[in-house]
Amino acid sequence: MTTQSLDMSEWPFYAPLALAVAGLVLFTLAQLWRRSWAVLFGLTITGVLAGTSWAARNGLWLPESGASIGREVDFLFNLILGLTTFFFLLTEGILLWALWNHEPASGQSPKPIHGDHRMELIWTIVPGILLAGIAIVQMPTWARMKGSGNESWLSSMYDASGDKADLLISVQGRQWEWRIRYHDPALPQPARPMEWAAKPDSSDLHAVNEIHAWPGAKVRLFLRTNDVIHSFFVPQLRIKQDMLPGRTAPAWFIPAPADTTRENHWEIACAELCGGNHYRMRGLVVIHPDKAAFDAWYAASASEQSRRNRAAVATQAANKAS
């Protein structure tokens, strides 16, 4: 900057310039103080924009999608965010312009616009068109998210006679944990999965707080709660579904992580304030690199629980004892 090239031996030459700069700064400060409301709003908006862009570039944004439906959801998200940002900037800009040019000390009184039909028409019809547009654009995605789109394996949500899902998982939320139950993937699926969700089979695998799957697995979830309202939220899977007492909420996902060479660990967070330890109601979605890794995990977990391998468990205990 220029300050670095200042040569102090030539001080007398720079003196008028320095005085002029100081005067300009003082004048600007005085102007700014007179327009302090405009400055305050201007700084706030700039701060919000700067903070948001900084956050977006530093991993504080929506996490990278790991779901088959992620691209569509993100498109809608960005579309709506873009529209609202545009109008936010437009209205705030007008507000700022008005504050800057019509500071109260000037004594001008503004021209009243109450009852201006033309303007009212504009700010009613334009948002109306936009909202209708958004409503139409989001329809196919919403239908797919809720399981009534063109996913054939979900086509019979309430009576899956066609064995198309890879995993059926019942998730029971309670204060403050997720109780997970898997239908044995090696067995034929129940004719009425909603009934299975309410009542365990003897072959089920029981787990707590961990949902395991593999990339490309078609996973159907049945979300229930033991006590109060919880909400099952996995940002990477772009799923957020409330769990209401007495009801079973179906949901689904197909993991599509960007990096399939490793295990992906995503947090399940309860997104509905559910009591004192709500913050602690966390779980984990584990996406294994491939189906074989999932199968190995499933076999290991099931062998602890299942009736078949009890002998192995018992022998281990006996060996330990001796």
């Binding site: 302090s36 409301w37 305050l40 109260p104 000390a105 309670r174 204060q175 403050w176 944990e177 109780r179 009934e195 009542k199 365990p200 089979d201 003897s202 029981h206 707590v208 707080n209 961990e210 004192g276 330890n277 602690r280 966390r282 779980g283 984990l284 602890e304 629980q305 009736r307 078949r308 391998n309 009890r310 002998a311 192995a312 468990v313 018992a314 022998t315 205990a317 006996a318 330990k320 004892a321 001796s322």
Partner: protein, 458 residues
């Protein structure tokens, strides 16, 4: 329009942001200078579980132990506050407080074994009760457990009054879901109390207790869970020493009361000897209580405490080496349980279990447990197991019983106990699922119209 005061607005906005931001800064952890509170809750002396169970659960918001209910059924309940009335017992109280602090420190600086009690410290280190682990465990405990289990492990944390089943009171040293059983040392005289292995406590922390308010803490990871389990052992040993000395000063069994009524002036000595007897004789039936007492100038809680801690920790040591031996599974391991096995298990169940698990547990009568709180024998038709659902968990319950709840261990007979034990497990695992029960048993459990879907009592 009057001009708005800008400076004031900025000040207000700043103050507002400070309030909003600091709203998340509640005191998550208790301070490190906290001390364990003295025990004030009633002591239940349950020599024998009362024949007549309670009529219901205490209403929500009331303490889980209702002294009047217990007293009405012949169980002694004592109030530790009465100890301050007599000169000798007040001395015991003061000395107990000092001893407990010496051996166990405070929640901020927990330890097991006083610095100068080298033998105890060595035992504690062998058990993994090292100070860094205890400090970490204590910190986690104050963050995650204290809401229900209380700062001293008394089971009456802030939320506890609204929970059923009530959170565990750790201070009696009794545990329900563990993989060890009461047993005798080869040289032993008295049976050893069954102590949990660290991995039993870690398992409970990992899986939670299904059907209770105890959630899973699995996501904390292995090492923090182990520290937490270690701290639970610390709390339990601490509470048990306190419990034993208080009960020693208060107990009202026939032998003690008779001796005291004959010689009221000697109450302190009589009670002290009684307390010592069980502690000294546990491994040596010839231990001479009088000789032990003669070596001291007067009954000393300190001398007793060190003896008692030595006993408890060696019981833990023995438990770690002697888990319940689970016999090999007598049927082909890769096939479903044979119908004959389920039938045999059903016969054992009918003979031994239905008294308490009436109608397979669907109509169980309530009982008192050793803590004096109300429990319900499990409904075994709903496929929900507090102590774990693995076959080996069920085997452990059968092999040890659940003594704190007066559930006896199953009598598996002499001919082939291994087979009988696994038969019972096979039956229990099949019980909630009508389609898994043999034809002749299904109607006995689910009636004639039984179909899949009638298993759970909704």
């Amino acid at each position: 329009m009057p001009r708005l005061p800008v400076a004031r607005t900025i000040q207000m906005a700043a103050a507002f942001f400070v309030v909003v931001i600091s709203a998340g800064c509640g005191r998550v952890e208790w301070n490190d200078d906290l001390e364990y509170p003295d025990r004030t809750s009633p002591l239940v002396q349950m020599e024998k579980h009362p024949d007549q169970g309670p009529l219901g659960f205490p209403p929500p918001g009331k303490a889980p132990v209702v002294p009047e209910w217990l007293i009405a059924r012949g169980v002694s309940v004592f109030n530790p506050a009465t100890l301050a009335d007599q000169e000798w017992s007040a001395r015991w109280l003061a000395s107990l407080k000092e001893e407990i602090f010496r051996h166990f420190g405070s929640p901020g600086k927990p330890r097991v074994g006083a610095v100068d009690a080298l033998a105890l410290v060595a035992l504690a280190n062998d058990l993994g009760l090292s100070e860094p682990k205890l400090v970490e465990g204590a910190r986690l405990y104050r963050r995650l457990c204290v809401q229900c289990h209380g700062i001293s492990g008394d089971g009456v944390g802030a939320a506890s009054l609204w929970l059923n089943p009530a959170p565990r009171d750790l201070r009696t040293g009794d545990f329900k879901f563990i993989s060890t059983a009461e047993h005798k040392l080869p040289t032993g005289f008295q049976p050893l109390k069954a102590r949990p292995r660290t991995e039993d406590l870690v398992k409970t922390l990992k899986a939670g207790l299904e059907g209770t308010s105890m959630p899973s803490f699995a996501l904390l990871g292995e090492s923090p869970l182990e520290s937490l389990a270690t701290y639970v052992i610390h709390l339990s040993i601490r509470g048990e020493l306190e419990h034993t000395v208080l009960l020693g000063a208060l107990r009202q069994d026939r032998e003690t009361t008779q001796a005291i009524s004959k010689n009221p002036a000697q109450e302190e000595l009589i009670r002290y000897k009684k307390m010592l007897a069980t502690t000294l004789e546990w491994e040596d039936p010839d231990a001479d209580v009088d000789d032990f007492v003669a070596k001291q100038s007067s009954p000393s809680v300190r001398a007793f405490g060190e003896k008692y801690l030595d006993r408890i920790m060696r019981e833990y040591e023995a438990a770690n080496k002697n888990p319940i031996v689970v016999p090999a599974y007598p049927y082909p391991a890769d096939k479903p349980a044979p119908a004959s096995s389920v039938t045999a298990g059903h016969a054992i169940f009918k003979a031994q279990c239905v008294n308490c698990h009436a109608d397979y547990g669907r109509q169980s009568d309530l009982r008192f447990d050793v803590w004096g709180s109300v429990v319900r024998p499990a409904n075994l038709t709903v496929s929900q197991y507090k102590g774990g659902r693995r076959p080996i968990d069920l085997y452990h319950r059968i092999a040890r019983g659940i003594p704190p709840c007066a559930m006896p261990k199953a009598n598996l007979g002499d001919t082939d106990p291994a087979k009988a034990g696994w038969d019972l497990v096979n039956f229990l695992l099949a019980l909630p699922h009508p389609d898994q029960l043999p034809e002749e048993i299904r109607p006995q459990v689910y009636g004639n119209s039984a179909q899949r879907g009638t298993g759970a009592k909704q």
